[in-house]
C-alpha cells in the first residue's frame, strides 16, 4: 500500500516537472485569463523561434569563450548581428510583438506606470535614457556603441512574460524594444508604449 502511494507521488512529481514546469518558466507570472494566456503563448512561441534561429546563426561562427582578445569579442558581435539581420531581412515591426501581443503589453505597462509604483518605474527608466542622444531605433538596427542602456524596472519584469537569456526588454524613450543582448540587435519594438 505504502509502495503504491510512493509510486503515485513519484508519478505526480514527474508529470508536474515534465509538463507544468517548462510552461511556467516561460513567464514571470501566471496569465490573468485565457486571452492573456493565448497572447503570451503567441509571444513566447515567436521568441523561441527567434532564439532557435539565433543559435543556428551563432553555431556557424567560431565559439565565443571568455577571452583577453577584445577583437574576438567585437568581431563575434558584429558577425552575429550581420548574420541575424541578413536572415531576418524581411522582418518587420510587429512580427514578434503582434498587434494582440502589443495591446496586451501596452495594458500591462500602462497600469504599471499609472499605478502606485508608476513614479518609481518612471524614475528608473529616466536615468540615462538613450533617446536623449539617439534617434528612434528600428527592427534590425544595432544598438549604438557607447550609449548607456536604460535600467528596466524590475517590478515590470515580474509582470511581463519571462525572456530567455539571449533577449531583454529595454526602453528607449517611450518605446519598448526587444533586444538581442549578444548581437545588440533590435529584434522588435512597440512604439510609444509609455503613457
Amino acid at each position: 500500500m505504502k509502495r503504491r502511494i510512493r509510486v503515485t507521488c513519484l508519478l505526480i512529481g514527474f508529470f508536474l516537472f515534465a509538463f507544468v514546469a517548462p510552461g511556467f518558466t516561460g513567464q514571470s507570472r501566471a496569465p490573468r485569463d485565457k486571452e492573456e494566456a493565448r497572447d503570451f503563448k503567441i509571444f513566447t512561441d515567436r521568441v523561441q523561434e527567434y532564439v532557435k534561429m539565433q543559435k543556428d546563426m551563432e553555431a556557424s561562427l567560431p565559439t565565443l569563450k571568455p577571452t583577453k582578445d577584445v577583437e574576438q569579442i567585437v568581431e563575434h558581435q558584429r558577425a552575429l548581428a550581420g548574420k541575424i539581420a541578413d536572415a531576418r531581412r524581411a522582418a518587420r515591426q510587429g512580427d514578434i510583438f503582434t498587434h494582440e501581443v502589443a495591446e496586451r503589453f501596452r495594458k500591462i505597462i500602462r497600469s504599471e506606470f499609472h499605478g502606485a509604483e508608476g513614479r518609481l518605474a518612471r524614475q528608473t527608466i529616466r536615468q540615462d535614457d538613450p533617446s536623449k542622444v539617439i534617434a528612434r531605433l528600428h527592427v534590425n538596427d544595432v544598438f549604438p556603441e557607447g550609449i548607456p542602456l536604460t535600467t528596466t524596472p524590475p517590478t515590470l519584469l515580474l509582470k511581463l512574460p519571462e525572456l530567455p537569456l539571449e533577449l531583454a526588454y529595454r526602453f528607449v524613450g517611450r518605446d519598448l524594444t526587444l533586444i538581442d543582448i549578444q548581437a545588440r540587435l533590435i529584434v522588435d519594438l512597440i512604439p510609444n508604449v509609455i503613457p
Binding site: 569579442i73 509604483e117 518609481l120 528608473t124 528596466t152 524590475p154 517590478t155
Partner: protein, 313 residues
C-alpha cells in the same frame, strides 16, 4: 613597437608616482594573517588622467596592503567597447596590478556593453551575474541593469546555499544613495532588500552615483557607494539622515580586509588621503540563521567628512 614604448612610458610614470606617493598614504588596515584583502572601484572607465591617478594610488596602497583582487562596480568602460577602449580605460591604468596577478571581478553598469562579460580579465566567465568565494567570504556579483525573476531566483538559491560567514553583494545601482544626480534605486531595493535581510547579507557595495558614501546601517546591512574611481560629480552628495560618511570632492577607492568576524575598510582619495575608515563586526545570532554586523569608528584625514558610530548589540 609604439604600443610597447607607450606601455613602458606609462609604467615608468606610474612607478615614479608610486615613489612620490608612498609617504603620503597612511594605511590603517591591520594586515592580519590569512585575511581576505581586496580593493573596490566603481565608475572608473573614463580613460582620463584622474582614473590613472586613482590607479596609481591603488598601486601605492598595494605596496603596504597587498590586496589579492579588485571588485569593480560597473561602468568599467565609458563611451564604447572597442579594443582601444579596453586598452586605454582598463589595461593601461591597471597594468601594474594586472601584471602582478591581481584579479578583477566586475559587474555591468548602465554604460557597459553586456559583451564585456566575455572579457577574461573581468572574470565574469560569460555570465551577467555570478558568485565566488574567498576565504570565509561569499561574493554575489549582480546585474542591476536587468533584475529579472530568473536572477532573483538564482540569487535566493545561492544565498540560501551559501555557508560562508560573510555575504557581500555588489552591483551597479545603489539601493541607498544621497547622490543628487541619481539617488536611491528604490524599485531595486524593494526586490533585493528582503532577500538580503532574510539571508543575512552584511555588506552591499554599489556605484552609479559618482561620489563616495557610507550609508547608516539599514535593517542591519552596511551599504557603501563607491562610484568615484574615475568619474566624479563634485559637490553632488546631498548629505542627509542616510549618510554616515561621504566624500564628493575628489575621486576615491576602497580597501577592505576581512579577518574572522571583522571587516576593516579604508577609503582613499586620488591624493592619497584617508577619507573614511572603520571596522564592521559580525555578530552571530544564537539561532544561526543570520549574522548581523556592528560598526565601530570611522576616522580619517578629513574629520569633518567622517563619523564615529558604535552600535551596541
Amino acid at each position: 613597437m609604439s604600443h610597447m614604448r607607450r606601455s613602458a612610458f606609462v609604467s615608468c610614470v606610474a612607478l615614479a608616482a608610486i615613489g612620490l606617493s608612498l609617504c603620503a598614504q597612511e594605511l590603517t588596515l591591520p594586515l592580519k594573517p590569512d585575511s581576505v584583502r581586496f580593493a573596490v572601484i566603481g565608475d572608473m572607465g573614463t580613460g582620463e588622467k584622474p582614473q590613472y591617478e586613482v590607479a596609481e594610488q591603488m598601486i601605492v596602497a598595494r605596496q603596504k596592503f597587498p590586496f589579492e583582487f579588485v571588485v569593480a562596480l560597473g561602468d568599467n568602460l565609458y563611451g564604447g567597447s572597442a579594443p582601444s577602449d579596453y586598452e586605454s580605460k582598463f589595461e593601461q591604468p591597471y597594468k601594474l596590478l594586472l601584471d602582478a596577478g591581481v584579479n578583477f571581478y566586475a559587474v555591468l553598469g548602465n554604460h557597459d556593453s553586456p559583451n564585456e562579460r566575455f572579457y577574461k580579465p573581468f572574470n565574469m566567465n560569460g555570465q551577467k551575474y555570478y558568485t565566488y568565494k574567498k576565504g570565509n567570504v561569499r561574493f554575489f556579483a549582480l546585474d542591476s541593469n536587468y533584475m529579472n525573476p530568473q536572477q532573483l531566483s538564482w540569487l535566493e538559491t545561492e544565498l540560501q546555499n551559501s555557508g560562508s560567514d560573510w555575504k557581500i553583494c555588489y552591483f551597479h545601482h545603489p539601493l541607498y544613495s544621497s547622490g543628487a544626480f541619481h539617488g536611491s534605486s528604490i524599485e531595486l531595493r524593494h526586490m533585493l532588500e528582503p532577500l538580503f535581510v532574510k539571508y543575512g547579507v552584511q555588506v552591499v557595495l554599489a556605484g552609479h552615483d559618482h561620489v563616495y558614501e557610507r550609508v547608516k546601517p539599514q535593517k542591519g546591512i552596511y551599504y557603501f557607494t563607491e562610484g568615484a574611481s574615475g568619474s566624479l560629480r563634485k559637490g553632488n552628495l546631498r548629505k542627509k539622515d542616510l549618510t554616515e560618511a561621504g566624500y564628493d570632492q575628489d575621486r576615491s577607492f576602497m580597501l577592505v580586509e576581512i579577518a574572522g568576524d571583522e571587516l576593516y575598510f579604508q577609503t582613499i582619495s586620488r591624493k592619497g588621503l584617508t577619507i573614511d575608515s572603520g571596522v564592521i563586526r559580525r555578530v552571530v545570532k544564537i539561532s544561526g540563521a543570520a549574522s548581523w554586523p556592528a560598526l565601530r569608528s570611522g576616522h580619517g584625514d578629513l574629520p569633518d567628512r567622517t563619523a564615529v558610530n558604535a552600535i551596541a548589540f
